[in-house]
């Protein structure tokens, strides 16, 4: 079976993962901009990060026959810092024309603060200004329902948004309905401890169908694996 992993943070994975993904049928992946696990001290480093996502990482993937695409943003984990957000948002347009850039993401909210929502809205405006696709992160665990509702309501209130150009990721049983009902794409994340197990993902596909629904790993530096092991 050939597959595309629509959410993989490969900067935190080894070349062994690339090799295993290729051997198990992965032909392409998309890598959203991520939180490094710590807050950055300066917005300048984001130029390096975006450069890595648009040059070095696609080269690394290509060695294993995998096409690498990416999304650019300031990740919601740092969205509270409005000054940092302004600088990073200013940086992004110069990278949007690079051949592997799909759009703006993964944007959204983390703890659902006022500043995070403001930063999210700024990213949405940027995406609309440059006619970009949008990839959205929804919060973790107890914040999932609240964050997803705030995100979906914010998008629905914006008449310039075309739901078919937006993917609201990390859906679970209590949020998948509100995302699909509004016409957005959604994603199920095989990250068993904090998101969804493969078995629960199958249940949701059975219940909601496969239309506008993707499954991905969101593999990163946490206890997550690219789908080559999860799918088996």
């Amino acid at each position: 079976m050939k597959y595309i992993d629509l959410h993989a943070h490969m900067v935190s994975r080894t070349t062994d993962d690339y090799e295993q993904m290729a051997l198990t049928g992965c032909v392409a992946l998309t890598e959203p901009a991520f939180w490094a696990g710590f807050d950055h001290l300066s917005p300048v480093v984001f130029a390096d990060y975006f450069n890595r996502l648009t040059s070095f990482e696609p080269t690394r993937a290509a060695k294993y026959g995998i096409q690498h695409y990416c999304w650019l943003c300031l990740n919601p984990k740092e969205g509270e810092d409005r000054e940092l957000a302004r600088h990073v948002l200013d940086l992004i347009p110069q990278f949007l024309d690079r051949p592997n850039v799909l759009g703006i993401g993964e944007i959204g909210v983390n703890r659902v603060t006022r500043n995070e929502i403001a930063t999210f809205i700024d990213h949405v405006d940027l995406a609309l200004r440059y006619n970009q696709l949008i990839h959205i992160h929804t919060p973790h665990l107890e914040d999932k329902y609240k964050g997803t509702k705030v995100i979906v309501d914010t998008l629905v209130d914006n008449r310039r948004i075309e739901p078919g150009r937006v993917m609201v990721d990390h859906a679970e049983e209590h949020t998948i309905g509100m995302i699909l009902d509004r016409g957005f794409w959604t994603g199920l994340t095989l990250y068993p401890q904090t998101k969804t197990s493969a078995a629960r993902a199958v249940d949701m596909i059975e219940m909601y169908g496969s239309e506008r629904l993707c499954v991905a790993s969101a593999c990163d530096w946490g206890p997550s694996l690219p789908p080559y092991r999860t799918l088996s």
Binding site: R114, N115, H140, L141, E173, H174
Partner: protein, 105 residues
């Protein structure tokens, strides 16, 4: 009729034959965790909000109505929509404290 009735392509007998052992093991893990809590050297968190939500969730497991996963997800969730005034912490804890609500800094 529930709109999701019949969406699972396996029969109940097939589901039991295929998944009973796996789910049985998970149930024993939950039981062992609760026993371990009781055996703790210092029973200093009997009313921890996470354990309160877990006890609520266990009651839902015994329900005879569908939608158990949704109901349990909502027990663990913050059901409000009011944004926090500012960031209090980076990480989620796994359960919302329904009695205390969110502490605004």
């Amino acid at each position: 009729m529930n709109r999701q009735d019949g969406t699972c392509p396996l029969t109940q007998q097939q589901l039991i034959d295929e998944y009973f052992m796996e789910v049985r093991a998970k149930m024993l893990d939950v039981a062992a965790f609760l026993d371990r809590m009781d055996r703790s050297v210092d029973r200093n968190a009997e009313d921890d909000f996470r354990m309160l939500t877990m006890r609520q969730a266990l009651q839902v497991l015994c329900a005879h109505t569908p939608g158990r996963v949704y109901d349990i997800q909502m027990i663990f969730s913050d059901p409000t929509t009011e944004p926090l005034v500012q960031l209090d912490r980076k990480s989620a804890l796994g359960a919302f404290d329904h009695h205390r609500g969110e502490v605004q800094p």
